[in-house]
């Protein structure tokens, strides 16, 4: 049975089904449904909800709970995400699994509260200080908000890495029917690294200050090996009508929905258009993009920014085919017609 709900609420339902122990957050539009939901739900479940004094504190509370092996998350929107970067860099270094959600809004600065995709660079290139990656998931529907949140904790624990759900104000706020079809998770295996107090074992420490010669270098090499493994195993994407396509639109999140409509309209007009939608922004689906970049094909990247993911697409094709771009930032979404016109111009 499908239930009509906002994307932000579907995300919460997914986290609850995944067995979340603790949520720490701070108010910011357009993600306010999330802390409001958990402020009630966690009391009902006898679990933890804390409204923190800042985004910085919320992220560090997540760090603390994650260090003890608990399933924990925080959510925010773009300006708040900048503040969380400190703790995220530490969690990446400390190899702590957790879920962080960025319901993007217009920027830079305080920007506005409409949907945006301008935090792509920050999400996939690290965001905070140091050489690290997060697994970045990009849902494009309320259903996927639910499913990605549900899967994110297993993924985070599998690799001991923070997972970021990069969504936006439109996906978060739109109401759609959602099938809450996941089996609630419980009875998790004990983590052999978590701080659970040293009864019956040697004390453990969780740290990232590695001053002795070569130790930090080795730690970084280990992290990179982990990232390589994730790149090999965890790429997710969706293709639509790409088989014989001459123009392939590449878009994620809210933009991918508009792009799909534009591709359908283009097909009705006899244009061989297709769509590739990355579901993981990191690891990025570079291989499939490379394989789609055949002679005579043109790629068109559509984003709610002035061109961020397009750089990764260009890296993937390495000059083999033209990569065009259409985007806008700070002023709502692209229209189907904008995209269709661009596709026609490329023909």
């Amino acid at each position: 049975m499908k239930i009509l709900m906002k994307g932000n609420i579907a995300l919460c339902e997914g986290a609850v089904a995944a067995g979340i122990d603790a949520y720490f957050g701070y108010p910011i539009t357009p993600q306010n449904e999330v802390p409001a939901y958990f402020s009630k739900k966690m009391v009902e479940l006898n679990k933890v909800f804390v409204q923190a004094e800042s985004e910085i504190a919320a992220a560090n509370m997540v760090l603390g709970a994650a260090a003890t092996g608990k399933r924990t998350m925080t959510s925010t929107s773009s300006p708040g995400m900048s503040l969380k970067q400190e703790a995220i860099s530490y969690m990446a270094a400390l190899q702590l699994p957790a879920l962080i959600v960025n319901v993007q809004r217009g920027g830079p600065g305080l920007g506005n509260i409409s949907g945006s995709q301008a935090d792509y660079f920050q999400a996939v290139k690290g965001g905070g200080h140091g050489d690290y990656r997060l697994i970045v998931l990009a849902p494009n529907s309320a259903q996927e908000m639910y499913e990605f949140a549900y899967d994110s904790f297993d993924l985070a624990e599998k690799y001991r890495i923070p997972v970021l759900i990069l969504t936006d104000g439109m996906i978060g706020q739109m109401m759609e029917p959602v099938e809450l079809n996941k089996t609630p998770k419980k009875d998790f295996i004990e983590k052999d690294w978590a701080l659970t107090a040293c009864k019956g074992r040697e004390p453990r420490s969780i740290k990232s200050l590695l001053m002795r010669d070569g130790v930090l270098e080795k730690h970084n090499i280990n992290l990179q090996e982990k990232y390589k493994l994730i790149s090999q195993n965890e790429v997710q994407y969706e293709t639509y009508n790409t088989d014989n396509a001459e123009i392939i639109v590449i878009a994620y999140g809210i933009s991918s929905r508009i792009a799909k409509s534009a591709v359908k309209l283009a097909r009705q007009e006899g244009i061989k258009a297709g769509l590739l939608r990355p579901k993981t922004l990191w690891p990025f689906p570079s291989e499939i993009i490379k394989s789609l970049a055949k002679d005579g094909t043109k790629l068109l990247v559509a984003e709610l920014s002035h061109g961020q993911m397009v750089e990764d697409v260009r890296l993937a094709v390495n000059g083999k085919v033209p990569v065009e771009f259409i985007g806008k930032a700070g002023g709502g979404v692209l229209s189907e017609q904008d995209l269709l016109n661009k596709i026609k111009n490329l023909k």
Binding site: A57, N60, G64, Y90, L195, K199
Partner: protein, 247 residues
């Protein structure tokens, strides 16, 4: 003949990286003794700061996590809320707790988080080489107040216990020092009482320990304890600032 005093079990048998005569070693030992005496070692998860005590996890013989600079109260909140049966304390210096982490400190205290904070006040940033701290005295020369702290430019020393005492969530606040054996004994009693406060679920407890930093103060260890007694304590008077543990 019996051994009557020796390294507590809650300290590892490691050489601490502190400078000769630094108060951190004494405070580490007092904390460890209290953990032992209250039988808390196997229940403890501690939070280390950024500052000279950053390597606390190498010295304490129980579970310890690192925290970003100033964030131990938030990290400890995350730990304690999800593990209410565990014993959780933070160990922080003046810059960590009262400058970069002041918001986290005040709000953890105000929420009445059932955690304990050991606050080592040595009137300067020790690890980075002796810069002006929020607790640096008026007129005190440091790396970044070479002509002495001038309140017109630098503001005044922060009295954290007094500041926190107005918050309903704080249950126990005491300021102690460690410049001689008598005060070390008093400091231990205060730490033990603060730990007991957490065990009894009374809320936020903090012990501020007026300590010394011989090298960054440009003094010998003996000069530094003399300066602590004669000058430092003029600004920071010792005693119980707040005690709601019997309420």
């Amino acid at each position: 003949m019996q051994k009557i005093l020796s390294k507590p079990e809650s300290l590892k048998d490691s050489v601490m990286s502190y400078c000769p005569g630094c108060g951190h070693g004494i405070i580490h030992r007092l904390v460890a003794e209290c953990i032992d005496e209250l039988n808390l070692r196997e229940k403890t998860i501690a939070v280390a700061p950024v500052g000279c005590a950053v390597f606390a996890y190498d010295y304490f013989n129980f579970d310890v996590t690192e925290a970003p600079h100033g964030r131990p109260p938030a990290v400890a909140t995350g730990i304690k809320r999800t593990n209410p049966d565990k014993f959780v304390f933070t160990y922080q210096g003046d810059g960590d707790i009262a400058a970069i982490g002041m918001a986290e400190t005040i709000h953890a205290a105000n929420r009445g988080e059932n955690i304990t904070t050991i606050f080592v006040n040595n009137a300067n940033y020790g690890m980075t080489g002796g810069q002006m701290a929020p607790t640096t005295l008026i007129g005190q020369k440091t790396e970044t107040s070479p002509f002495g702290r001038d309140p017109k430019r630098d503001g005044y020393p922060i009295h954290l216990c007094e500041l926190l005492s107005s918050l309903e969530g704080t249950a126990y606040l005491e300021r102690v020092s460690i410049y001689n054996p008598q005060n070390i004994i008093k400091a231990k009693k205060a730490i033990k009482k603060a730990f007991q406060c957490q065990i009894d679920g009374k809320g936020f407890s903090l012990v501020e320990i007026i300590s010394n930093c011989p090298v960054d103060w440009g003094m010998t260890p003996l000069e530094s304890i003399k300066w602590t007694e004669e000058t430092f304590l003029k600004e920071f008077s010792l005693g119980v600032i707040k005690d709601k543990t019997n309420v």
